[in-house]
């Protein structure tokens, strides 16, 4: 029974991180109909910035703040300078539909090699701001530390902030309107272009938080967030790729599922299991548990 509960706790920790990455992917998908594979690159760049700040100042919160700012700016920059140019140029021919996928892949390569050029390819460790010692409850250690609490609280704060922005503010209304029907949103006086950039900005920030929170538990290298990208994508697909609550639920489902496989089956079967989950959710419920009925061809 104790193992069961500790598995759930680990699952929620993992799930928080996956949810953040899924949120980032969903925000971009809603605003531009692009699955942003460069998200892993943007997140790793922001994480390295956070790492650099951490080394220089030793203040975790300051580093996290700088990482979020840099991540958001990078997201905005990618949309403004890169995606807009892309949509202007690649609009016909057989590759037009695939151009965004390939372009974001190229961007991932560029960011990753730039990170490698600046910081090198070697593994680094990101010092944890809080204790990583496991809690002792009633004489028994459970695999849950202050760091895990920090991860869960941090992710929850981001999600609460997003839900307030999306449900309670005019900006959120504009974001939802231009995701739902860009044409009609434009007729209603919303400037869809800048709203898109804001969607990418939020996504960049969420990715940065995911990167900085996951790294103290893990190692830091130019491609250490690739698996996070895959898990985030799977979580987003489970949730329907359209819906923000879906991304969170998808992330939690995936995180808890992975924790159970880790603890009860095998550590090496995670990726194949995730792949099977992805295939099943795509074949059985292609619109996701929170997806709209209307299928949109991208």
């Amino acid at each position: 029974m104790r193992q069961f509960f500790s598995t759930i706790l680990i699952g929620i920790t993992l799930g928080s991180i996956y949810s953040l990455m899924a949120l980032a992917l969903v925000l971009v998908w809603r605003s531009t109909r692009v699955v942003n594979f460069a998200q892993a690159g943007q997140a790793i760049f922001s994480t390295y910035i956070g790492y650099e700040m951490m080394v220089r100042t030793g203040n975790f919160w300051f580093s996290l703040l700088i990482a979020i700012i840099i991540g958001s700016l990078l997201g905005a920059g990618v949309e403004y300078f890169f995606m807009r140019t892309l949509f202007k140029h690649a609009d016909d021919g057989p590759v037009a539909a695939l151009a965004p996928v390939i372009a974001t892949l190229g961007l991932l390569g560029v960011i990753r090699s730039v990170v490698g050029m600046i910081w090198g390819n070697e593994y680094r460790s990101f010092a944890s701001p809080v204790s990583t010692d496991n809690f002792v409850v009633a004489g028994a250690t459970i695999p849950f530390s202050r760091l895990n609490v920090l991860v869960i609280v941090g992710a929850a704060l981001v999600m609460i902030a997003f839900s307030i922005i999306f449900q309670r503010t005019n900006l959120g209304l504009a974001l939802r309107a231009s995701a739902f029907q860009p044409e009609i949103a434009r007729l209603a006086g919303i400037r869809v272009g800048p709203i898109r950039t804001i969607g990418w900005t939020f996504a960049g920030g969420a990715g940065a938080v995911a990167g900085v929170l996951v790294t103290p538990n893990d190692i830091l290298s130019p491609n250490s967030l690739d698996t996070l990208l895959v898990f985030g994508f799977v979580a987003a697909v489970i949730g329907g790729l359209e819906s923000l609550p879906g991304a969170v639920v998808g992330g939690m489902v995936l995180g808890i599922g992975i924790a159970f496989i880790l603890n009860y089956v095998s550590t090496t079967l995670i990726f194949p299991a995730v792949f099977v989950v992805l295939l099943l959710s795509l074949v059985i419920k292609p619109n996701g548990i929170f997806g709209s009925k209307k299928v949109r061809n991208a």
């Binding site: 539909a97 390819n121 792949f275 795509l282």
Partner: protein, 329 residues
């Protein structure tokens, strides 16, 4: 090569193979090895061209098919002691079967969903090697083509033997693929890519053709994977995620709709690290820059291609030529 008959194309392939043999005799070991790499990469890129360029499905995980092919070949050699040609056949059969099964799922997915799914496959599949002991874990399996026959003489090196095998197999495979793309199936795929609705109205079975494209593409990728395993190793580390990305880069650089471009793409991929090395040594850059420069150049090229010549340079040149010809008339 559009208006040539199959016989003439066959003759061209034979002549090209002959030239390759003569050239391979005149250059040093490293060049021969690079030649084998180019041949293998050509076939791998061609497999992406069948899938992406012709049937319009995008795969970010073709490295997984290369891995399956390599493991199928190595397993049949290790456990059945099969002759070499049979191991290659096995790699094609097994990957085609798996491609066929995945094709069913793929046919239901549109662009980004399929891209993400294949990405998950490429990340997940190599880890299976650590789960099952018969797959050999991190160290992988032994797979080789045997020593070159004694009648080629003493100074016939192993690398030259690798090159001969790769070039021979790839030339045959490319000839078959070329014919396939010029057949009814190739035209079906083109129609499908240009306008799925119109193709359906013409009586084309969309799902079936997409699955067929996936099957054949996987088979070709598997064969190239077996050859790659022959010249390097059959282990998870030989098939990283970056391999899949590199292949799609090669396909896009050379024009994702032109089969002839696949060789150009392969040459570019092999030459870029050399160029990067020359640049960085002449600049006297640090280790960090040197090891990341090839990836940087490849990615920048990929982005520039997608931005300014999304259908590849070959297509752009052809378009321009057609434009000129129209202007003349």
């Amino acid at each position: 090569m559009h208006n040539l008959s199959t016989k003439k194309v066959f003759a061209l392939f034979v002549i090209f193979g002959w030239i390759l043999l003569i050239v391979a005799d005149r250059v040093d070991e490293l060049r021969v090895y690079q030649g084998a790499t180019i041949a293998i990469t050509t076939l791998a890129i061609a497999s992406i061209i069948i899938l992406t360029g012709y049937s319009g499905q995008v795969s970010l995980g073709h490295g997984a098919f290369l891995a399956i092919g390599a493991y199928a070949a190595a397993l049949s050699q290790t456990y059945w002691q099969s002759p070499f040609w049979f191991t290659l056949l096995m790699s094609v059969i097994v990957t085609s079967l798996i491609g066929f099964i995945l094709g069913f799922a793929a046919g239901r997915l549109s662009g980004p969903y399929l891209a993400g799914t294949t990405l998950a496959l490429a990340v997940g599949l190599p880890t299976l090697a650590n789960q099952f002991t018969f797959l050999g874990g991190e160290t992988g399996l032994v797979y080789d083509a045997g020593n070159p026959p004694a009648r080629f003489g003493e100074d016939f090196t192993l690398y030259k033997w690798f090159f001969w095998i790769s070039a021979f197999v790839v030339l045959i495979a490319m000839f078959l693929i070329r014919n396939l793309l010029h057949s009814r199936y190739g035209r079906t795929w083109k129609a499908l890519r240009a306008n799925p609705t119109a193709a359906q109205l013409c009586g084309i079975n969309v799902a079936q053709s997409k699955i067929l494209a996936f099957t054949i593409s996987a088979g070709a990728a598997g064969l190239s994977g077996a050859l790659l395993g022959m010249i390097s190793i059959v282990a998870p580390s030989a098939f990283p995620l970056s391999l899949s990305f590199t292949l799609i880069t090669g396909a896009v650089l050379a024009g994702v709709t032109s089969l002839a471009g696949s060789m150009l793409g392969a040459v570019i991929l092999v030459v870029i690290p050399e160029i990067a090395e020359v640049i960085s040594t002449s600049l006297g850059e640090s280790e960090k820059v040197i090891s990341n420069l090839p990836g940087f150049i490849v990615s920048v090229l990929l982005i520039l291609t997608v931005l300014f010549s999304p259908n590849g340079p070959a297509e752009s040149i052809r378009k321009r030529r057609e434009h000129h010809q129209k202007a003349k008339h």
